[in-house]
């Protein structure tokens, strides 16, 4: 193997390693899906973790039969003050995008039923590239 060949071989090998370590691995997944309990007519939030192996994607909309309306919201803390801001869409870059308390969440507005611990329902996430993903949501203990 000539020097040039060796160089090219190691360069490609290094690139593959870098790609494997920086990009998400495996398939596009949404895990750790849960919601807090809520009362009929009230609101609740759904949380989850998106694992995107690539390419960069965008969450365009959310829907569910469990509530009158479903939206994407972001909680922002500023000097101990909390504000929630509705999001038109949410970028989902390669890697993990986390919907969690105190941050991004799917907001269920006007619950049609009480949500009690152990209850389950579905939410559909619509991604620009990954398409529709149906989530099975479990209501956790408060």
């Amino acid at each position: 193997m000539s020097r040039v060949h060796k160089f090219v071989f190691f360069a490609v090998f290094a690139l593959v390693l870098v790609a494997c370590s920086t990009g998400g691995s495996g398939e596009f997944q949404v895990n750790d899906v849960w919601a807090r309990p809520g009362l009929v007519g009230g609101n609740a939030a759904v949380f989850f973790v998106i694992n995107n192996p690539g390419p960069d994607d965008m969450l365009l909309s959310v829907s569910s039969e469990i509530a009158s309306a479903v939206e994407m919201h972001m909680t922002i803390m500023q000097d101990d003050n909390m504000q929630m801001v509705p999001q038109v869409n949410v970028p989902v870059p390669i890697g993990e995008t986390i919907f969690e308390p105190g941050g991004l969440h799917v907001m269920l507005i006007g619950l049609k039923n009480d949500l009690k611990p152990g209850d389950t329902f579905t939410v559909t996430l619509n991604f620009e590239k990954a398409g529709d993903r149906l989530l099975n949501v479990t209501v956790r203990e408060p």
Binding site: D80, N81, M82, P86, G102, M107
Partner: protein
Amino acid sequence: MNTKVTWVGLILLVLIGAVIAMAFYFPKTESYRGTLYDPPLSAPEIELTQGDGSRYRLSKNRGDIVLLFFGYTSCPDVCPTTLSDLKRVMEELGANAERVQVIFVTVDPERDTPQKLQEYVSIFNPSFIGLSGSMQELEKVWGNYGVYREEAQFPNSATGYLVNHSARLYVIDQDGNLRLSYSFGTPIDDIVHDLKMLFK
């Protein structure tokens, strides 16, 4: 020369020994992990309506520790997260939880009736008390506790409006003094640690 060095060494040894002995003899005083009001401030009275229609007065809880939080039932994130943390704090306190009263005061009286508030906080712990009142009564309480609260209109959102608000948790001690406060997301262990100190 050698005698001098020996004496200096001996004195040093004695000093180091004394420092170590003092560290063991006088244990380090524990400090609070929350934001301490020093000196403590007398907690302003709160008089509002609870779920059964009766009037609640903060002064009735003299002798107990009161954990005070301001929020609203349509808030799906910060408020239930804090109430969920407080549920766990009560579990961690065991029998001492009987000497702690959690109070949740609304920042959204237009949508939160006292009954609705009580139903909501009871999801987390039936002993929690939800309070509402007239705008005039509430404005007085918000003002006394320095609570920021502002309605934010989102015409494209089904929520109609959301309420931006302070997310601090206040601790009122057994003597009715505002003693500590915590920012949102303070670890449960820190709150439990401080409450146990207040029980001593």
